[in-house]
């Protein structure tokens, strides 16, 4: 495949990682993203950190959801939605 990539930077990778993990990236952008990862161990580690973060956040759901993040959620969201 002879394709010229428009390269993305590490600073861009950290902002695109969620779109990537969520499968919400256009194919050309996926190619650029993965091309960057294939050359950059730092960003491999970053994506891994995000993945391990998601896994660790999932662990708190195995017990009861702590009151700090359970209570007031509905009210908080109603407030969020009522803003302009």
């Amino acid at each position: 495949v002879s394709e010229t990539f428009e390269h993305i930077s590490c600073q861009e990778v950290v902002e695109l990682v969620t779109d990537y993990l969520e499968g919400a990236m256009p194919p050309a952008e996926v190619a650029r993203f993965e091309h960057h990862l294939s050359l950059c161990e730092g960003c491999i580690f970053y994506v891994e950190q995000i993945r391990l973060t998601i896994e660790a956040v999932g662990r708190i759901g195995e017990e009861d959801v702590p009151p700090e993040i359970r209570d007031g959620l509905v009210e908080a969201f109603r407030e969020f939605k009522s803003r302009p």
């Binding site: 495949v1 930077s9 590490c10 600073q11 861009e12 950290v14 902002e15 990682v17 969620t18 779109d19 990537y20 993990l21 969520e22 499968g23 919400a24 990236m25 256009p26 194919p27 996926v30 190619a31 993965e34 990862l37 294939s38 950059c40 161990e41 730092g42 960003c43 491999i44 580690f45 970053y46 994506v47 891994e48 950190q49 995000i50 993945r51 391990l52 973060t53 998601i54 896994e55 660790a56 956040v57 999932g58 662990r59 708190i60 759901g61 959801v65 702590p66 700090e68 993040i69 959620l73 908080a76 969201f77 407030e79 969020f80 939605k81 803003r83 302009p84």
Partner: protein, 211 residues
């Protein structure tokens, strides 16, 4: 070439010397396994079925470049023309464009402190000054110890309400993006922006907490 099944999905396995690569033609030739002398080299995380459901990659293969994409929909295999459907379940299609963020999403703060990256005049602008740590090498359970969980809980508690609602539903309770959008009346794009900011903040807090 051998055919078999993985989690009920038909797969083909190609062998070359001590390497076996297993692909799922029905999933756009996604690579589902790469073995060297029987050792699995791909980290599949949630599994193939989760992949078909969400269309998302949740694992980082231990080996790259990643052998799980095709450049086109038509190719030759064993003298046969193979044509893959271009619609679902081919992954990584464009589901929707990110909608324009609205004011309530809050300030657009960077996922990582800009000071961690090289400046515009550097040979590698926007590149890491120092690579992030390799968390996979942390002692087992470091991220699941009480102290780490406390950091996660207090960080989530400190998030703006919308980010807190989204990360709680998605990552604590395990709801799908669709469920969150429906429950909170959010567009897919805005749901993702909120999730991105929330996850980035929690990662950052964990990073500061780790030795």
């Amino acid at each position: 070439m051998n055919t078999s099944q993985l989690e009920g999905i038909d797969t083909v396995t190609l062998s070359a010397g001590s390497l076996q690569a297993e692909f799922a033609p029905a999933l756009g030739m996604t690579g589902v396994s790469l073995r060297h002398e029987g050792d699995e080299l791909l980290d599949r995380q949630a599994g193939v079925l989760a992949y078909t459901r969400t269309g998302a990659v949740m694992g980082v293969p231990l080996l790259y470049p990643w052998a799980n994409r095709l450049a086109g929909h038509d190719y030759m295999l064993d003298g046969h023309d193979v044509r893959l459907p271009s619609g679902p379940p081919l992954v990584h299609g464009v589901r929707e464009a990110r909608s324009v963020p609205f004011a309530s999403l809050g300030p657009d703060e960077p996922a990582v402190d800009p000071d961690r990256f090289r400046g515009p005049d550097d040979r590698y602008p926007g590149g890491w000054k120092v690579f992030p740590a390799h968390w996979q090498q942390l002692p087992d359970e470091t991220l699941h110890r009480r102290e780490a969980l406390d950091v996660i809980v207090s960080t989530i508690a400190s998030l703006p309400p919308a980010q807190r609602a989204v990360i709680r539903m998605r990552d604590v309770e395990g709801c799908s993006a669709e469920e969150v959008c429906a429950a909170l009346d959010l567009s897919q794009g805005n749901q993702r922006v909120l999730l991105h900011r929330a996850r980035s903040r929690v990662r950052s807090a964990l990073e500061q907490h780790l030795p």
